[in-house]
């Protein structure tokens, strides 16, 4: 064990989580009138340009999670402000509040010095604030011009017909301002992602936006396209547009950003000048000085190798991935969003097709073409999106636990032996301490942590001994996380082989005997759990191919 100060309890476990993107309704208390928050004046590197947006003392809680704790941010005209932090630091929640998707519990937003409320995304647009999401929001079958001016098309003939000539002319004008060359009438679905992004930017500009939020804009672009995007950004800056740029990519930040605001665990950490701050310094701000308490069981699984993957390739998400997994071991998979970790797990599990690569299970080469094949080989996959892929929410706890094993509960190959189902479900509910009044409870009524236990139970009952946990504590509140950690460690101690995919570095470090780090579909390194630090993982996780050479 490295000499670490006798630190506070797990910072990782307290990590604030942004609500999942697919959340149907922002389940939150209505905002009581935004209280004037006694925010201290922001001491940041000053620029001479006027402040266009200021957010003060923003506080936001979701059930079980305190996502933002009195966070502040200020943005000047004509600058690029990079917003940085680990997954779950609260960047997205902050931006959703700025763009009216969420309402803050406390705090205020000032635009051009005047306090405003942003009750919905439309209001944000009217204030001149636009956001370009990582997943673009375009209608693929409409033309670029139609996408940009949807709902605002110029009309003619008593307002009955859209005036396509005027529409295209207006679009051409916007594109000209951006110095891009896209025909206004081209169907958006036929454009490259990079050009689609430019259409989104054009749409934002057509609203006369003075603030543009860009969420990981380069994640799907190649080198040349990134250059072009940066040129557009530079141009926007010159026209006085202020840009909030969310990214994980250190090199981009250095190139494009003027200032950097760092968040961690739902808190504002610092704002620094991009030009004069070193990468190392930024990373340390992001991960925090306090290093994580490791209550990890000592000794890695010394057992035999149970899984070996060599040269796995699939599409552009998985590039030549190899690793091995031992009995009794917890192997961490770290990396940024979109690094390909989930894809690797799904490919091995047979959920998605693979292009090439070999999988050896207990030393035997195995052909896994479907999840059914995988399960037969003792593999289990616990999805990050529990409600969609993990649990059948409308079925009972019992039926969820027993689902993969139903075939075993048959008399005359047909009749379900309910008594045996009840008995086994009951046993596993007890063993994993699932908090449910009884095994017939509908699963959707359980808390996230208990749902996760139900999913774990179903694989244990099915005798799976190689378990892939994808974000095992996503959407689970703080108290339950520790319990899930303990459970994983016990399972490993009992001889199960476990892969933990997690975007929360403290979680990976705390749990793993070994850590595989991925970036852009490739394995960029493997660290021993004992020596791994958040800095070393981050370094590998941002090792893009161009830099790796």
């Amino acid at each position: 064990m490295a000499k670490k100060p006798p630190q506070k309890k797990t910072t990782g476990a307290k990590k604030a989580k942004p609500a999942p993107k697919a959340m149907a309704k922002p389940a939150m208390a209505p905002l009581s009138a935004a209280m004037p928050h006694p925010a201290p004046m922001v001491a940041t590197p000053t620029t001479t340009k006027p402040v266009v947006v200021e957010m003060r003392g923003i506080d936001k809680s979701f059930p079980g999670v305190h996502a933002l704790k009195s966070v502040r941010l200020d943005l000047h005209a004509g600058e690029v402000l990079a917003l940085m932090g680990e997954n779950g630091a609260g960047k997205s929640t902050m931006m959703k509040i700025l763009t009216g998707v969420y309402q803050p519990d406390a705090g205020e937003i000032l635009v051009d010095g005047k306090p405003v409320t942003v009750p919905n995304p439309r209001a944000a647009q009217e204030l001149g604030i636009s956001i370009i999401h990582q997943e673009l929001n375009l209608m693929n079958h409409l033309s670029a011009a139609q996408n940009i001016f949807i709902g605002r098309e110029p009309r003619r003939g008593f307002g009955i017909f859209t005036d396509n000539a005027a529409l295209n002319a207006k679009t051409r004008e916007v594109f000209k301002r951006m110095k891009v060359d896209i025909p206004p009438d081209v169907e958006v679905g036929e454009l490259t992602v990079a050009k689609q992004q430019l259409v989104e930017i054009a749409k934002a500009l057509s609203f006369d936006s003075k603030v543009l939020v860009m969420d990981e804009p380069t994640s799907a672009l190649n080198e040349k396209e990134v250059e072009h995007l940066f040129a557009v950004i530079e141009d926007l800056k010159r026209h006085g547009v202020a840009i909030i740029y969310i990214t994980h990519k250190m090199d981009e930040v250095k190139r494009i950003a003027d200032r950097i605001t760092v968040m961690r665990d739902g808190q504002y950490i610092d704002t620094v000048s991009a030009a004069t701050t070193s990468m190392a310094k930024i990373i340390s701000l992001m991960v925090g000085r306090e290093l994580v308490d490791s209550t990890r069981e000592e000794g890695r699984g010394n057992g035999e190798e149970v899984l070996r993957v060599t040269g796995l390739n699939s599409g552009k998400h998985i590039k030549n991935v190899s690793f091995s997994l031992n009995k009794g071991e917890i192997l961490g998979f770290a990396g940024l969003m979109g690094a390909g970790r989930t894809e690797v797990a799904r490919a091995i599990f047979g959920a998605d097709p693979i292009d090439s690569g070999e999988i050896y299970i207990h030393g035997k080469k195995s052909r896994i073409k479907s999840p059914a094949d995988a399960v037969r080989n003792g593999l289990a996959y616990l999805s990050e999106d529990r409600k969609r892929f993990g649990i059948v929410t409308r079925m009972s706890v019992r039926d969820n636990i027993t689902l993969p094993s139903w075939g075993r509960y048959l008399t005359a190959r047909l009749w379900m032996n309910d008594r045996a189902l009840n008995k086994d479900a009951h046993e596993y509910v007890g063993r994993l301490k699932v908090k449910t009044p009884h095994v017939h409870q509908e699963s959707r009524l359980l808390s996230g942590g208990n749902q996760q236990k139900v999913v774990i139970a179903k694989w244990l009952l099915r005798d799976c001994d190689i378990l892939f946990f994808d974000e095992p504590t996503r959407g689970i509140d703080v108290g339950a996380k520790a319990e899930i950690y303990k459970l994983l460690q016990n399972l490993a101690a009992q001889g199960k082989a476990i892969v933990v995919i997690s975007s929360e570095l403290p979680e990976v470090i705390r749990l793993s005997h070994r850590i595989v780090v991925m970036c852009e579909g490739r394995v960029t390194g493997e660290l021993d759990g004992k020596d791994a630090t958040q800095e070393s993982i981050m370094h590998l996780a941002t090792l893009r191919q161009a830099n790796a050479a």
């Binding site: 999840p371 649990i391 048959l410 379900m416 017939h440 409870q441 009524l445 108290g479 319990e483």
Partner: protein, 334 residues
């Protein structure tokens, strides 16, 4: 984490008790209301003879409704039940009349045909991933054409096999209790309902019907061979269409090639009125039986009241939309 609070326990109660039962309660309430209304409005409606009429008129639609219910709970849809029904009846006709084989071959022939055709459409849905709406729409039309072609558009009459009437119009129970007059078709309907309910609630196939309807991807990722079970579901549904074909052709004493289209919509209406969710995961056989009875009581009652024919359709449509709406509201509240 806090322990299970009082509210969750209450939730549990409502979910275990009523959510499943509720939809039946709604449909059943509509049924009783209709009976009460027609009984008050017409002196002749509430009679044993008319009750037997209604039961007889319900049998075929209820059995087809059951076939639809199984598929719809699994989040599929089957538009081909009507013409498949006719196809199966024609096969029985060909086997037992044209080829002169005994009925104990001809009758299972219908069930086997239904199961095979169902398995075929199920395979296209499961393995080729063609949406069930499209596959069964295609089968609906293709089977209609085949029905006309294989019979040269002539009905097949069962006059050579008078015993065939045993399936539907004969009334065995009247031999025991004279004057009861319930035709065997009604008992066949009840048997099919019990059979389907047992499949749904007691067998692994039934469990997968509900599971697939609730979250197919989660089931697939649980290592279940989802495709195989889908084929099974459509095969079972097809077999039940075969039973409906026997009922109809036995009642008519003939297999009529042109009949069948349009029956699927009545069957789906019965299913939906009975509380089965078109998005899958929810539904009961009893609900569908009640739904089928609602449709035929409405039709019979309005005829008894001498309400013009066209209003029957208006009333069925209104009941369909209302029943589903009330059902949705009740569910949202729970």
């Amino acid at each position: 984490m806090s322990t299970i609070s009082a509210t969750t326990v209450e939730n549990e109660k409502s979910s275990f008790f009523s959510v499943a039962a509720l939809q039946k309660v709604v449909a059943f309430a509509v049924l009783l209301l209709l009976v009460a209304f027609f009984s008050l409005a017409s002196p002749v409606f509430f009679s044993w003879l008319n009750a037997v009429n209604i039961m007889t008129a319900t049998a075929v639609n209820a059995v087809l409704g059951i076939a639809c219910t199984l598929v719809i709970i699994s989040a599929g849809i089957d538009l081909s039940v009507g013409t498949l029904m006719t196809f199966c009846a024609i096969i029985t006709g060909i086997l037992s009349i044209n080829w002169g084989l005994p009925l104990w071959i001809g009758i299972p022939g219908a069930l086997l045909t239904g199961a095979l055709v169902g398995a075929f459409s199920g395979s296209l849905i499961a393995y080729l991933k063609i949406p069930p709406f499209i596959v069964t729409l295609g089968f609906m039309r293709a089977l209609y054409g085949l029905n006309v072609v294989v019979t040269s558009a002539k009905p097949i009459y069962f006059d050579d096999k008078p015993d065939y009437a045993f399936i539907s119009p004969d009334s065995t129970i009247s031999l025991l209790i004279p004057g009861l007059g319930i035709p065997n078709a009604v008992f066949v309907m009840i048997l099919v309902a019990i059979f389907a309910a047992i499949i749904l609630n007691r067998t692994i196939l039934g469990r997968f019907i509900y599971a697939l309807g609730s979250n197919e991807e989660a089931v697939r990722l649980s290592g279940v061979n989802v495709n195989l079970w889908k084929v099974g579901i459509y095969a079972l549904s097809g077999m039940i269409c075969g039973i409906a074909g026997l009922l109809l052709s036995s009642r008519l004493g003939s297999a009529q090639p042109a009949i069948g289209m349009g029956y699927e919509l009545d069957a789906i209406a019965a299913t939906v009125i009975g509380g089965t969710s078109l998005t899958g995961g929810r539904g009961t056989i009893l609900g569908t039986i009640i739904g089928a009875f609602i449709i035929s009581i409405l039709s019979n009652g309005l005829t008894v009241l001498s309400v013009a024919d066209e209003w029957k359709y208006v009333a069925t449509g209104a009941i369909l939309v209302t029943a589903v709406y009330v059902d949705m509201r009740l569910r949202n509240r729970s």
